[in-house]
């Protein structure tokens, strides 16, 4: 069982500076993290990410979300309880801890492009002998 205090919460940013393009970035999870249990996606412009965004996310070359997976399926609004906003992934061994994201911005008639930030939060567990 995992508790909040043996969870490592990390934040990684991707800047989306041009429309209709894919932005690839690689991040490294904390070296103490043993299992990746969930992720959450937010943005400086939620509306842009909601309508225009899709992404591919890999953990050590293992595909967590395939190309074209719409960002809106990974977002939660304010009206979702904070403890329920995490997208659970089970317990995936972090291995080298390499997280790769390829975020694609695609034009949408309802929303005009302005540069925005996409943030991916990762939640990993440290393996401990004690539960406390």
């Amino acid at each position: 069982m995992s508790y909040k205090h043996n969870l490592i919460k990390e934040r990684f940013d991707v800047q989306i500076t041009a429309e209709n393009q894919t932005f690839k970035q690689e991040f490294e999870l904390d070296k103490n993290a043993n299992y990746l249990i969930g992720i959450a996606l937010t943005s400086s412009r939620d509306d842009l990410m909601f309508y225009r965004g899709s992404q591919k996310i890999l953990l050590n070359d293992m595909e967590l979300f395939p190309e074209g997976f719409e960002s809106k399926l990974l977002m939660s609004g304010l009206n979702v309880a904070p403890d329920n906003r995490l997208i659970t992934l089970g317990e995936l061994g972090t291995g080298n801890g390499k997280i790769e994201i390829a975020y694609t911005d695609k034009a949408h008639e309802l929303i005009k492009f302005v540069p925005y930030r996409v943030t991916i939060y990762t939640f990993s567990v440290i393996e401990t002998n004690s539960e406390y």
């Binding site: 979300f65 395939p66 190309e67 719409e70 939660s76 609004g77 309880a81 906003r85 008639e109 309802l110």
Partner: protein
């Protein structure tokens, strides 16, 4: 091992029916869940959306104007309070009585003003909600998925665009705005996006699909995405 497969279908204006095949990876054991998303709407819906957005714009403009007015009232009340404090210090009973009377009148005006805002807000809220309901009732098409060898339909759905995907008004309602946030009436009521849970042994690597488009008056085409969560 789990894998998500996405199959997209492009629907263009004038197309009524689409047959398609989804190729599954060879090592697929089971299909665990399905989700359908879409991004299209008809001309009729577009007009409703425009109407809705105008009402929402006016609503938000009013709110910002109201905030200014609200602040003015609050400023006046604090100014009188300060003067009252000073009057109490010098024990000027006449001035205290005068200021108290002024404050009473101001508070009554403020109360009236707050009540009028409440009435206006609920009116525009109701109108917007009615339009959103009108939009929500419109269907985009029907989708069937089946396994060719068995000829049975494993999944069927009337594809609708969720209201929160219609323009900024709907989006704000779903993602940002809690109408009664802070008043203690509404706190949280949402949930994460979830997939439709299903458990299918596909036997072959092909799933057949059939989509029937109900939107006849399309300006642009639209896309249907079928997400399949697979167990490999």
């Amino acid at each position: 091992m789990k894998k998500t497969l996405i199959h997209s279908i492009q629907i263009k204006s004038g197309i009524e029916k689409v047959m398609f095949q989804i190729k599954l990876p060879r090592n697929t054991k089971r299909v665990k869940s399905i989700k359908i998303t879409t991004n299209g709407y008809s001309l009729e819906q577009e007009e409703l959306l425009k109407r809705n957005n105008t009402i929402e714009d006016e609503y938000y403009k009013k709110i910002s104007q109201n905030n200014l007015e609200d602040n003015n009232y609050k400023l006046l009340i604090t100014q009188i309070d300060k003067k009252l404090e000073e009057a109490y210090v010098i024990n000027n009973k006449e001035l205290i009585a005068k200021l108290q009377q002024e404050k009473k009148v101001l508070l009554e005006k403020y109360k009236e003003y707050l009540a009028s805002i409440e009435r206006n807000n609920s009116k525009s809220n109701v109108t917007v909600r009615l339009i959103m309901l009108e939009i929500a009732e419109q269907e985009m098409g029907s989708l069937w998925l089946r396994i060719p060898e068995r000829r049975d339909v494993l999944f069927s759905e009337v594809v609708k665009m969720p209201t929160h995907q219609y323009g900024l008004a709907g989006f704000n309602r779903a993602m940002n705005v809690l109408p009664d946030f802070g008043k203690g009436k509404e706190w949280i009521n949402g949930s994460k996006e979830s997939f439709f849970s299903i458990d299918i042994d596909p036997t072959s690597t092909i799933i057949e699909g059939f989509y029937s488009n109900l939107l006849k008056d399309l300006t642009n085409g639209y896309q249907i995405n079928i997400y399949l969560n697979l167990e490999l």
